[in-house]
């Protein structure tokens, strides 16, 4: 350990909800995206699931909203070290979409991609079992464009760069393929509890 002279840090409460190296951003919700926020109307939004599936399919806004509603209430963690507690998102569980396309047994990973072309990779197991959503509401309101509205992927148990904003689709693969940040040095999985920030962590 390399102690920095005179650094004590902010007075801290030992918060079991805070992964190592994170701080509570409170009411702040910082925005970190590398691209221009797209102007994407709900009427122009589509979401596709294909790759290693029985029946590739594309949903539009209305069709996606016909699926059973599902909410997430809990915490989110960004790799730039802020966490946000007790957030509420509304949308549809990703399971609902996956059940309709029926993934092949060979499918092990996925690449999620945005209407901007941003990509991020995930093990399929992180997207199933009620752990991932397509979210279009935040705190009961439509999701703001700079936070990924009209709809984003939400995978709250991983660092938030995995929760692709302006989600356009998910392709199922039989191998892991690094996405945008992962090609730029970020970790392939990004588990905040293990501080998987950069490749090699």
């Amino acid at each position: 350990m390399n102690v920095t002279r005179g650094f004590t840090g902010r007075p801290r409460v030992d918060d079991p909800g805070l992964p190592p190296g994170q701080y509570d951003a409170g009411d702040d919700w910082p925005v970190l995206s590398a691209e221009v926020t797209p102007e994407l109307a709900p009427a122009d939004w589509t979401f596709r699931v294909d790759g290693l599936v029985e029946e590739p399919r594309t949903w539009n806004w209305e069709q996606a909203h016909e699926l059973p509603a599902s909410a997430y209430e809990g915490d989110i963690h960004c790799v730039t070290s802020w966490s946000k507690f007790g957030v509420r998102f509304g949308g549809v569980s990703l399971d609902a979409f996956l059940n309709m396309v029926r993934p092949h047994v060979a499918a092990t990973h996925a690449v999620a991609y945005s209407h901007t072309g941003y990509t991020t990779n995930l093990p399929l197991a992180d997207l199933t079992g009620g752990r991932a959503w397509i979210a279009w509401e935040y705190d009961g309101q439509p999701l703001a464009p700079e936070h990924g509205g009209p709809a984003r992927l939400l995978v709250p148990h991983l660092y938030f760069w995995k929760s692709a904003k302006w989600i356009a689709g998910i392709r199922l693969l039989d191998h892991d393929e690094p996405g945008f940040w992962e090609q730029n040095g970020y970790h392939a999985r990004g588990n905040p509890w293990e501080e998987q920030r950069y490749s090699g962590d």
Binding site: M1, N2, V3, T4, R5, G6, F7, T8, G9, R10, R12, G21, Y23, P30, V31, L32, S33, A34, E35, V36, T37, P38, G51, L52, T80, S81, W82, A106, V111, Y113, S114, H115, T116, G117, Y118, T119, E146, A168, G169, R171, L173, D174, H175, E177, F180, Q183, N184, G185, R197, Y198, S199, G200, D201
Partner: protein, 251 residues
């Protein structure tokens, strides 16, 4: 099946510069060798990092301060210095009110103090000096852009480079004395005599886009999220293609 997936849409900011994963994972000890005041709220910290592998202008690093009880705080900071082989790098930090890390730098740090860094990180905001660059920053958002300007000068590059910097007042303009003909400051609260006061607007961006070098500009926008949103919209309305706009948001 080993298909390589390419999304149907082009990503606005292809990461075209390969970065070393190796450097990103190793924590190195850095020693403060010099502190220079830039403005009442910002100072530059020169660090000796003997094993620094070098960086490209626009890249940032991760910095870590550790308390006696093992608590550690990590933050991202852009590299202010141009790449060189002196074994030193420079960071410029704003003093954020109540800030844990910037607070230590501005009230405790002195030459000889040691901390840890890892990097350089991220290739998408990097500018190797190859394409004409239109740089737009506000506040401490000028830090990575200044690394580009310094690189341009140090290498005597002839590729066109322009910098638009938005700041409240002349006193708060970081690196104020270093700018040359490439830079247009925009003052939002108070300006030197005869210079207009006001927000960055289409009128600042339009002439630069009207006067494009062959092949067009690669735009780099850096600052707070609110500023990044504003500036990137100005660029898009002025006709800059979205896939030639790179944005670094400080949060």
């Amino acid at each position: 099946m080993t298909e390589t997936f390419t999304p149907p849409t082009r990503f606005a900011v292809p990461g075209r510069i390969a970065v070393s994963d190796q450097a990103a994972t190793v924590w190195q000890t850095a020693t403060i060798t010099e502190i220079r005041r830039e403005t009442p709220h910002a100072a530059t910290f020169r660090l000796a990092v003997p094993d620094w592998q070098g960086h490209l202008p626009g890249q940032h690093l991760m910095l870590r301060l550790t308390a006696g009880d093992g608590y550690a705080a990590q933050r991202h900071y852009s590299l202010a210095s141009a790449p060189d082989d002196s074994g030193h790098i420079e960071l410029t930090l704003d003093h954020v009110e109540g800030g844990e890390v910037s607070g230590w730098f501005h009230t405790v740090a002195r030459p000889g103090d040691r901390l840890e860094v890892r990097g350089p990180l991220s290739g998408f905001f990097a500018w190797p000096g190859d394409r004409p660059a239109l740089l737009i920053g506000a506040g401490s958002g000028v830090v990575p852009l200044m690394s580009m300007v310094r690189h341009h000068r140090a290498r005597g590059l002839s590729v066109p480079l322009r910098l638009l910097v938005s700041v409240r007042s002349p006193e708060e303009l970081i690196y104020g004395r270093e700018y040359g003909a490439e830079t247009t400051p925009v003052f939002t609260r108070s300006a030197p005599h005869g210079v207009p006061v006001g927000r960055m607007a289409a009128a600042h961006v339009a002439p630069l886009l009207a006067d494009q070098p062959p092949g067009g500009w690669e735009a780099y926008v850096c600052g707070s999220n609110a500023f990044a949103e504003h500036a990137s919209r100005l660029l898009v309305s002025a006709g800059q293609p979205v896939d030639r706009i790179r944005i670094e948001r400080f949060g």
